[in-house]
């Protein structure tokens, strides 16, 4: 069939039924906004999970009788390891002062200095996670200057399972919203097509092939889906820029990572999904009126 002619007829259809299409695009925009919101949450949870998974930290608690020489030697050994990025010697009084400062004083200021053993705080380079920290801990825990090594493995495991649960929930929500979008798209486009069933009948009686009849409707559906998805992304971006500081202040600190907008490929995927869902919805809706 002639594509140019289909475009001309699709434009005519959009022009004639603009009020209906405006309503359709509004409904679809809301639906795609919900999908975009879920994708936004999902990508941030995923980023946070990756960030936490890649962050390797460990605390090497020093024994009470470790001399400054032992500590310097241990520090040199740790800093020489390629996986280690930074080693900080935290003396007992500094550890206590920091804790009291972070917990804003109160009843914790009464804690004795013995409750805060001196430690070497080890940060691993990017890409080395809790697994590598575990290996290093095994190697240094036998040294006489070392009392205990904390790799936070259990904490990371709990956080990871929490993140996984969050991702699962977000995926479920995405699926649910996706189904709602399909229903909304299907019904909206079906309504638009139903209003033009007489036009379809006339075309068929004049000898139009199914593809000739279907073409403009599919183009209109594609346009509706694409326009709705684009509008949803723009709205989501606007909302993100407007609320970015607040989101980062609350969620950013909670997950320990910067809140980011949906990445480019996901945005493109959302737009493509909009176009495909619109086209499919139209094609399926037209099908029932083609039997003339």
């Amino acid at each position: 069939m002639n594509f140019k002619q289909a475009v001309v007829r699709a434009r005519r259809g959009l022009r004639e039924e603009r009020r209906l299409y405006l309503i359709a695009v509004s409904s679809l925009t809301i639906a795609f906004f919900c999908v975009g919101g879920v994708l936004f949450a999902l990508s941030n949870l995923s980023a946070a999970a990756t960030r936490w998974g890649d962050t390797g930290r460990m605390s090497v608690y020093l024994s009470a009788n470790a001399t400054d020489g032992d500590v310097s030697q241990l520090r040199m050994v740790l800093e020489a390891l390629p996986e280690v990025e930074e080693v900080e010697h935290l003396r007992a009084e500094v550890a206590r002062a920091r804790f009291i400062e972070e917990s804003e004083g109160g009843e914790f200021s009464a804690l004795p200095i013995e409750a805060f053993p001196a430690s070497l705080e080890v940060s691993l380079s990017e890409g080395f996670g809790s697994q590598k920290a575990e290996e290093i801990a095994e190697r240094v825990s036998g040294l006489s200057a070392v009392d205990e090594v904390e790799t936070y493995r259990g904490w990371f495991a709990r956080l990871e399972s929490l993140m996984n649960a969050g991702q699962g929930l977000a995926l479920f929500l995405a699926l649910l919203v996706g189904l709602c979008v399909l229903a909304v798209v299907g019904n909206t486009i079906r309504l638009a097509v139903a209003r033009r069933r007489e036009e379809i009948e006339v075309l068929k009686l004049c000898g139009a092939t199914d593809s000739f009849v279907r073409g403009p409707f599919v183009l209109e559906g594609t346009f509706q889906g694409l326009a709705s998805a684009t509008l949803a992304v723009v709205l989501l971006m606007g909302a993100f820029l407007l609320l970015r500081d607040r989101i980062e202040a609350s969620l950013g600190e909670l997950v320990g990572a910067d809140v980011v907008f949906i990445d480019g490929p996901t945005v493109l995927l959302l737009l493509a999904a909009g176009a495909v869902v619109g086209a499919l919805g139209s094609a399926l809706s037209v099908r029932r009126y083609l039997a003339v």
Binding site: Q5, E198, V202, L203, K204, L205, C206, G207, A208, F212
Partner: protein
Amino acid sequence: MKRRIAGLRFACPVEFNLVTFLPQWNRLVYGTYMASSSSKSSSKVVRPFAFFRAGARASENASQKPILVFEDVFKYFKDDSPTLRGLDMSIERGEFCFITGPSGAGKSTMLRLIYRAHTVDSGRILFCGRDIARLKESSIPFLRRNLGIVFQDFKVIEHWSVFENVAVALEILDMPRRLVRSRVAEALERVGLAGRGSERTATLSGGEMQRVAVARAIVTEPALILADEPTGNLDPHLALDILTLFEEINETGTTVLFATHDHSLIASRNHRIIGIDDGRIIEARVGLRSWQNEPSGMHAVAG
């Protein structure tokens, strides 16, 4: 005369003249689409016109046969009572024929079988020698391009302009825009709506809407026009106008099947009448006026 079309040679017994709407069956039989141009003598082939299906070729003696033949046609909507019971009839090329009978007799069903909105349950319908019932679904659009169909309820798109309503039949054929404009103008002139192409169809009267529908039916210069109660929604004066319009179209060589149960309309003309009652053809005579003194069931049928 020999004419080379789409790489095939066909014998062409009559010279084309599309401007005056002459032999419709040429295009049907020879599978060509001709363009009218400013110079009548310089008609040129725009594109091959598929004979029911792209690539198919009509038999060379098709032009010698009746345009439409019904052979023992049965159609069932209920298992125990067929709507059409063994219909046998033949329509010659260029005929004007009334199909009449009371409501529910099977007139519309008969027409719907011709444009394949329904399929026969037994028997054959031959259109230009080809069995319509055996056409594949994909060939039905090509069958309909050889038919012009007019309905009681007009079936015009009211929010389109008059031009758009007529042009749609040519757009389906992928005809160049320039040709569409000239052909639509010709068709509108023929139905008495010259210069009114830009008007919105919703603003027209019932009679004018039916004229738009007729223009849409004739603009592709079909071989056969099927009119299903085209005057049913019009007052008697307008009904006669529309009937006259169909007769004018018939004079150019187009076969017309005109289904109506309006006795006064049938009585006003001297065309062949095929009466249907209870799914059977009960009479097939020419001219109701000449029968008025004969013992005939036609008056009762035409009702």
